[in-house]
Symmetry: C2
Subunit: 218 residues, 2 copies
């Protein structure tokens, strides 16, 4: 296939492989629990490649942090937020996109990694500052495109604070749904969104069979 890469291309490609491998391994073992050997092996490389591309484990962590922002899903979210759609549709699309990213099989990684990062950031001042720097543009963007429908109670709240509530709900529901998507169905994110926005509950947005107990014999 398309071989014969220039030296620099090869390097960038390996760097990317390492970042993606690190994502997976971090999600699986936790950031502290992940060894660089394991990350390198998951990328089909060796630790030498890691230290050739990153100064330390700390830097790798921060770069993974960074890299994640450029992920398709994340981009779609911010784009949606900036789209200026009417609330009713925005809520629906948002909830759809969200639920998909949680449900989607191997996307378990997503929630695990998010929680892992937050947990790590809470205990490491440097990472904390980095994370907050990532979050603040999103926060400012919310200012320009307020989520709250015009007449609602929610619209009396500063857009940044609305955004904060949304983020909290996102993080919390991601974690809970990841723990047990049956007992804590991800669809509840959309439900909560509608309630906050002052939109009524429509039937179809409710999870059908979620009694909290698991009597699924399958």
């Amino acid at each position: 296939m398309a071989q014969r890469l220039t030296r620099e291309q090869q390097r960038q490609q390996n760097r990317l492989k390492l970042l993606q491998a690190a994502e997976r391994v971090f999600a699986e073992r936790g950031i502290q629990g992940a060894s660089l050997d394991e990350v390198a092996a998951a990328a089909g490389l060796t630790k030498g490649a890691v230290y050739s591309n990153f100064a330390s484990k700390e830097e790798l962590i921060q770069q993974v942090f960074w890299y994640r922002q450029g992920t398709p899903d994340a981009a779609e979210f911010t784009k949606l937020q900036a789209s200026g759609l009417p609330a009713e549709q925005l809520v629906q699309r948002y909830a759809q996109l969200w639920a998909r990213s949680v449900r989607g099989g191997e996307r378990d990684d997503f929630a695990r990694l998010a929680v892992e990062f937050v947990s790590y950031a809470m205990r490491h001042p440097d990472a904390r500052d980095k994370l907050l720097d990532f979050l603040s543009p999103q926060q400012e963007q919310a200012e320009d495109h307020p989520f709250a429908p015009a007449g609602s109670e929610l619209s009396k709240l500063p857009a940044q604070q609305v955004n904060t509530i949304l983020m909290a709900l996102d993080l919390g529901m991601s974690a809970l749904s990841n723990l047990d998507s049956e007992r804590y169905p991800p669809e509840l994110y959309g439900v909560a969104l509608r309630l906050l926005a002052g939109l009524g509950l429509d039937e179809e947005s409710l999870p059908s069979d979620a009694t909290g107990s698991r009597n699924d014999p399958a």
Copy 2:
């Protein structure tokens, strides 16, 4: 002073010291990052004491998990939930208690530990099951004492699902506020609660000076 403890009393006391020390060290270093030597030292004991009281690190973790349920704050929350107070008051008390437990200086540990536990549980099936077992009685209790005010939209939702949303908000806001309590003021938990319950925003529940940017010269 009151010395002369029986052998069993001494043992129980040391066990307790270890659990409390583990809480602190886990919150500070993370569960994986915490060494048993460090835990033991924080309790004023040695690793010998740890292995005399717990079979392994894994078991210590689970016991800390357990022990935490008996904590005063946690008890107050569940009591409040079962109090059957009218929504308006319940929301206020709940938010108060919550904000206090987040703000209160050394209670940073609380949020850090909660997130750490969830993160750990997401990656360890055994711990996951244990955590879910802790959560389910709370979930069932919600059934008996629904949080939603009578006429509200929220009351159309099964109590357990309401409870799930509350838990998600709790976890998410704890984490965010712990990261930066200025940018993500914990008072927003109460605000979100009022919005979900369909209660209007009263002025005093709003955080006064939270613009999202930090120009506090102090």
